[in-house]
């Protein structure tokens, strides 16, 4: 059992698309749970067709709230935990309860993917990176995306979270990714898991409220995510032990 944070530090790199695509691809081999841990700017529910559900992570994170099981939805061969979009609900939620949520989920799954916030500027945003075993850094071939991706890696390693690998997203033919990726790899601890081409299928999937691999399984982008999932070796670890580890992780309660 292993928990990955899918992170980027910069918005717009396609983290949520990547999280769900990696989740679906990994679900062919593993029992996968995807959590929208971008608690302040949740959007996974729109990508997964879950915008009308009653209970979300926000309801679980309030004091005396719903049990986590109530916010788990079986979709596309995965367990999906969406987060609501109400800022008032975010304000009422206690992000540090995410530790307990992850611990509970860990007992019953092989892989947890935490869709993380596109910022490192708050405690709630960094928490998924603190809790995860490893981070998958989603990049674009631009200077700010690479620079912010490096910052994510440094934050992660400060919390003993390793880098599992990097994913180059929204790559176009003229991007010379064959030259950029090896140069970038010199600075990241994990290798390039895949280079995902820019694709209209991604926009189509988002509009349809379906994960990319469900919406356009034959697209080049979907194939690239399958390749990324194949390159990701999930470390063995007893689920019970992992759950205990999350529970004992030293994350303070809300101030």
């Amino acid at each position: 059992m292993e928990a990955f944070a899918v992170a980027s530090g910069k918005g717009g790199t396609g983290k949520t698309t990547s999280t769900l695509a990696l989740g679906m691809a990994l679900a062919e081999e593993y029992d996968v749970t995807v959590v929208d841990a971008d608690m302040g700017m949740a959007n996974l529910l729109f990508h997964a067709g879950l915008e009308d559900v009653e209970t979300t992570l926000h309801d679980v994170l309030v004091a005396g709230g719903a049990p986590v099981e109530a916010a788990v939805y079986e979709r596309h061969g995965m367990s999906v935990v969406p987060c609501g979009t109400s800022l008032a609900d975010f304000a009422a939620a206690d992000p540090t309860r995410l530790r307990e949520v992850v611990a509970t989920l860990a007992a019953d799954t092989d892989v947890i993917l935490l869709d993380s916030a596109a910022t490192l500027s708050s405690r709630a945003a960094v928490l998924p990176i603190v809790l995860a075993d490893r981070v998958v850094v989603v990049l674009e071939p631009t200077i700010p995306a690479l620079s912010d991706g490096l910052k994510v890696q440094e934050y992660a390693s400060s919390y003993d979270t390793d880098t599992a690998g990097i994913v180059f997203n929204k790559v176009r033919d003229g991007d010379a990714i064959e030259r950029i990726a090896p140069k970038a790899e010199r600075y990241f601890d994990g290798s390039t898991l895949a280079s995902v081409p820019a694709s209209d299928a991604v926009r189509g999937a988002r509009r349809a409220g379906r994960p990319l691999i469900a919406h356009a399984p034959e697209s080049r982008a979907a194939a690239a995510y399958r390749e990324a999932a194949g390159a990701l070796t999930v470390r063995d670890g007893d689920s019970g032990t992992v759950a205990d580890r999350f529970r004992s992780a030293v994350v303070p309660e809300s101030p």
């Binding site: 631009t142 700010p144 910052k151 440094e154 033919d173 030259r179 950029i180 994350v251």
Partner: protein
């Protein structure tokens, strides 16, 4: 690089080069921006970046600290924010000599796309570029052809000192915030 005297259009501190590019494009500025990093990562990393515009579209880039022009000059500006920005307007013909330096030229959309990381601003900038600066696009190549030159990104990745400085700063920041946020025991 000798710049002509210009009329100061704007002088302020900006956090991100994107602001400069969007501002110049929206105003259709013909002139140049001088960007001076205020939060320099490297102690000896002084110098200023100069970016010229014609009708709001970047033409030439130069960095006084590294004495490099073209795409590498854009990389030299990266991660140095906030920046002190002075934006000058000049007559188009007064930039002719500066714009003759072929090796200092940057493709129209490169600064927006690679330095600012803003795809839609890059697309708008390319649309505003005169036709002779747009590379012909055949339908088969579509948007993938043209000026998607990545020289600035490669130059950035080749700058090991700057990347080491970015990582070092992030490490320090992470440690400080770990304490601030009460993650201290974890870190």
């Amino acid at each position: 690089m000798k710049l002509p005297e210009g009329r100061l259009l704007r002088s302020r501190v900006v956090s991100d080069p994107r602001t400069v590019l969007a501002d110049a494009l929206d105003r259709g500025v013909t002139g140049y921006a001088v960007l001076e990093p205020q939060g320099s990562l490297l102690l000896d990393d002084d110098g200023r970046g100069v970016l010229t515009f014609e009708g709001g579209v970047p033409v030439v880039a130069y960095h006084t600290g590294s004495d490099r022009g073209g795409p590498p000059a854009l990389a030299d500006l990266a991660a140095g924010g906030p920046y002190r920005l002075d934006l000058y307007g000049v007559r188009r013909d007064s930039l002719a000599a500066v714009h003759d330096r072929e090796s200092f030229r940057v493709p129209p959309g490169m600064a927006a796309e690679r330095l600012a990381g803003d795809q839609s601003l890059a697309d708008r900038t390319r649309e505003a570029a005169p036709t002779d600066r747009r590379v012909d696009r055949t339908p088969a190549e579509g948007d993938d052809a043209g000026d998607r030159d990545v020289g600035a990104v490669e130059a950035f990745l080749d700058d090991e000192r700057k990347i080491a400085a970015i990582r070092e700063q992030a490490r320090e920041e992470a440690q400080e915030r770990a304490e601030e946020w009460g993650f201290g025991d974890v870190a």
